[in-house]
């Protein structure tokens, strides 16, 4: 017997508004998912790439600082050299001696400001691939960054490089982790409700189909936000703190928005697709299998197509070209990646990714329609 059994009492307290009632579904889903040791481990693992990309941010900012310093130093030395060469009062012997003694480096404080412009001009052409910090050299699509470093203003170079590093972070480590994370979390979400007939429990409350779906969709969205957008925003903040000053925010204000949009590009189609698989079966393992199979088959098809399109000279030179964007449609991974590249400004033409955006929209709409039908089905018997 309970110590203080009050019996039945009327509820005289307030009721909450219906606008955010779906969040209860999300909250309970997250609580249940977090009970899994595997998901806890995956969350921890998913933050490891932040360290790697964070190191990239650090080296990049250090590189930018070194470049700035070396420009000023080189400019000062250049100015001194000119003065030595042009001053007719200096005897040839001493001039030669001075030229030999001209120092390699100077303190920053001694650099005359007037020479800055000439310094910049001199240095812009000196930047090359080998000048990039070592950790950045191994990353894909690095040529785009090098180009920006070689031709653009430092602020443009910073924007491009940050976007490129974030894009790399989204596409490679987090893309793979997303695949596993969604594969662990989403398949049981609706399948288990169907098997345990919990759908009736939800819909006999003041909850509609859209709210149910929204609540379920927000579960993977929260986890994907935690492993993509949140670390992305932390990396951005890290970059700001490492940069020469807060004026950098003015040059990079759009990056947080790009991070959020890239997260949405990742979350919406993938979560809806996985939820659709979950709604098609009472056995979550079938949904898990379908989820990994569609990524595996898509990736395999893309790889085979890419391999068959390789030209002999590319094989000999070792410079392997990527496929045209339309072939990315074979694989959801590449489709999402290419659209994210466009979001981060690394793919300038929308026309090139428009079919891919259309494909992701089609996947999302198709999945949504199937989901609505599938969750209504148990009520129609």
């Amino acid at each position: 017997m309970p110590i203080n059994n009050l019996g039945y009492r009327k509820w005289i307290g307030p009721f909450t508004g219906s606008l955010l009632r779906w969040t209860a579904i999300t909250q309970s889903g997250i609580t249940i998912a977090m009970k899994s040791k595997w998901i806890q481990r995956m969350l921890l693992i998913s933050f490891l790439p932040v360290v790697y990309i964070g190191t990239g941010f650090f080296f990049f900012e250090k590189f930018m600082e070194d470049q700035s310093r070396s420009r000023r130093v080189a400019g000062t030395i250049e100015a001194m050299r000119e003065r030595i060469l042009e001053d007719e009062r200096i005897p040839d012997e001493i001039r030669r001696q001075l030229m030999e003694e001209l120092p390699e480096t100077l303190d920053d404080e001694r650099i005359p400001d007037a020479l800055q412009q000439r310094i910049d001009e001199a240095l812009d052409s000196q930047i090359s691939h080998r000048d990039l910090p070592e950790p950045l050299q191994g990353l894909p699509d690095v040529e785009k960054v090098i180009k920006s470093l070689a031709t653009d203003e430092p602020r443009v170079a910073r924007h491009t490089t940050w976007c490129w590093m974030l894009m790399t972070f989204f596409r490679y480590p987090q893309g793979l982790l997303m695949l596993i994370m969604v594969g662990l979390i989403v398949p049981p979400l609706i399948a288990r409700d169907l098997r345990s007939k919990a759908i009736l429990i939800y819909f006999s409350r003041p909850i509609g189909r859209f709210e149910y779906l929204l609540g379920k969709l927000a579960i993977p969205a929260t986890f994907l936000f935690l492993i993509t957008a949140l670390p992305g925003l932390i990396l951005y903040l890290f970059g700001i703190l490492l940069s020469p000053g807060f004026f950098v925010i003015a040059d990079t204000w759009d990056i947080p928005f790009r991070i959020l949009i890239a997260t949405a590009v990742l979350v919406i189609p993938t979560s809806l697709l996985a939820l659709m698989f979950s709604s098609l079966t009472h056995e979550s393992r079938f949904a898990t299998f379908a989820w990994f199979a569609i990524w595996g088959l898509g990736g395999g098809a893309y790889f085979v197509t890419w391999a068959t399109h390789l030209k002999p000279d590319e094989l000999e030179s070792g410079r392997l070209a990527t496929l045209a964007p339309q072939w990315s449609m074979l694989s959801i991974f590449n489709t999402v990646g290419d659209v994210q590249a466009w979001v981060f400004g690394l793919q300038p033409s929308f026309a090139a990714v428009a079919p891919l955006v259309g494909l992701l929209a089609a996947i999302s709409i198709f999945s949504f329609v199937i989901l609505l039908r599938r969750i209504q089905a148990p009520l129609n018997v």
């Binding site: 509820w11 209860a24 309970s28 345990s196 007939k197 409350r205």
Partner: protein, 317 residues
């Protein structure tokens, strides 16, 4: 969360519902007032469809209705706010404990989360769920889940309760406890209850009104008292002595009667003159009359009569 109530709490008129070419409800009309109403019908009679329509979960082709003054077609969400539903199926939300399930139901119904937890414990106490409330619901017996389902249905203090086979899987003691709780909620807290069950004894024990649904049509509805009354006046006698001799003497005296299954006598009249004859004959035969009361149809008889009528109507078509 209360709504204006005027007239019957549930009023449904001419509802027609088809699933494809199968007719689930055929111009069903009914009214449910305060108290406990039993909804009876064999499998496939349309009970579940009717409940889903009351909850606004499925659309119907024609007809109209109001639940607690709310329009059936346009205010499904509001109806579900003031209604508690206990499904027949063994349904549960996996991965949660009993108390979490009840709390979750309360939050979905609009209670603030902290208050919902407090209320969940209070209701589980009321429902007789002890420390097992902290266990994962997947480890519960079917009877335990039944209690949690009942607690989930009433946790938000609904005005209308729809209970679909609430006593399934319960042992006799638990069954009686649950029926007492239902009676308490209806009589002391003014809740309208629709009790949908195959166990006629449960209906007889607690229901004030009965609705019998057959092949999508409402075949009978009314108070238990009205339905129990036989079409012809009959008086039941319980006697101690030779009932065969008494029947013979009564027939000779012009009073029509027959023996009943319990060893008593059914006098097919309730006229005072006939009852006086009964007393006189009993006195002459030295038979002791233990009880004399107007006969009532049992719920089984009412139900079977409705089924036979429906079968007859179907055969005539």
């Amino acid at each position: 969360m209360t709504v204006e109530k005027s007239g019957p709490l549930v009023r449904i008129e001419n509802i027609v519902k088809y699933y494809g070419s199968t007719c689930a409800l055929d111009h069903a009309s009914l009214q449910v007032g305060p108290g406990i109403t039993g909804l009876l019908g064999p499998n496939g009679a349309g009970k579940s469809t009717l409940i889903k329509i009351i909850l606004g979960l499925v659309r119907f082709q024609t007809g109209e209705g109001q639940i607690l003054g709310l329009d059936l077609q346009r205010q499904g969400r509001r109806i579900r706010e003031v209604t508690g539903y206990m499904p027949e199926d063994d349904c549960y939300i996996p991965g949660m404990s009993g108390v979490e399930v009840v709390q979750f139901s309360a939050v979905l119904a609009g209670l603030p989360p902290i208050e919902a937890l407090r209320r969940a414990h209070e209701i589980l106490d009321f429902c007789g769920v002890q420390q097992e409330r902290y266990r994962d619901i997947e480890t519960y017996s079917a009877g335990m889940r039944q209690k949690v389902k009942f607690a989930s249905a009433i946790v938000h203090d609904p005005q209308l309760l729809i209970l679909d086979e609430p006593t399934s899987f319960l042992d006799p003691e638990e069954r009686e406890d649950l029926l007492n709780r239902i009676k308490l909620l209806s009589h002391d807290f003014g809740k309208a209850v629709i009790l949908c069950t195959h166990i006629l004894r449960d209906v007889q024990m607690v229901c004030d009104e009965v609705i019998i649904l057959l092949k999508g049509k409402v075949r009978m509805s009314g108070s238990m008292e009205t339905l129990s009354r036989p079409s012809e006046p009959v008086t039941e006698l319980q006697i101690e002595g030779d009932s065969a001799e008494m029947i013979r003497r009564l027939e000779l005296s012009g009073v029509h009667c027959q023996s009943n299954v319990a060893g008593g006598i059914r006098v097919l009249s309730d006229r005072p003159a006939d009852l006086q004859t009964v007393w006189r004959v009993a006195n002459e035969l030295n038979i002791s009359v233990q009880s004399i009361a107007p006969a009532q149809n049992s719920l089984e008889e009412i139900f079977m009569t409705a089924v036979r009528e429906e079968a007859g109507a179907h055969a005539n078509q």
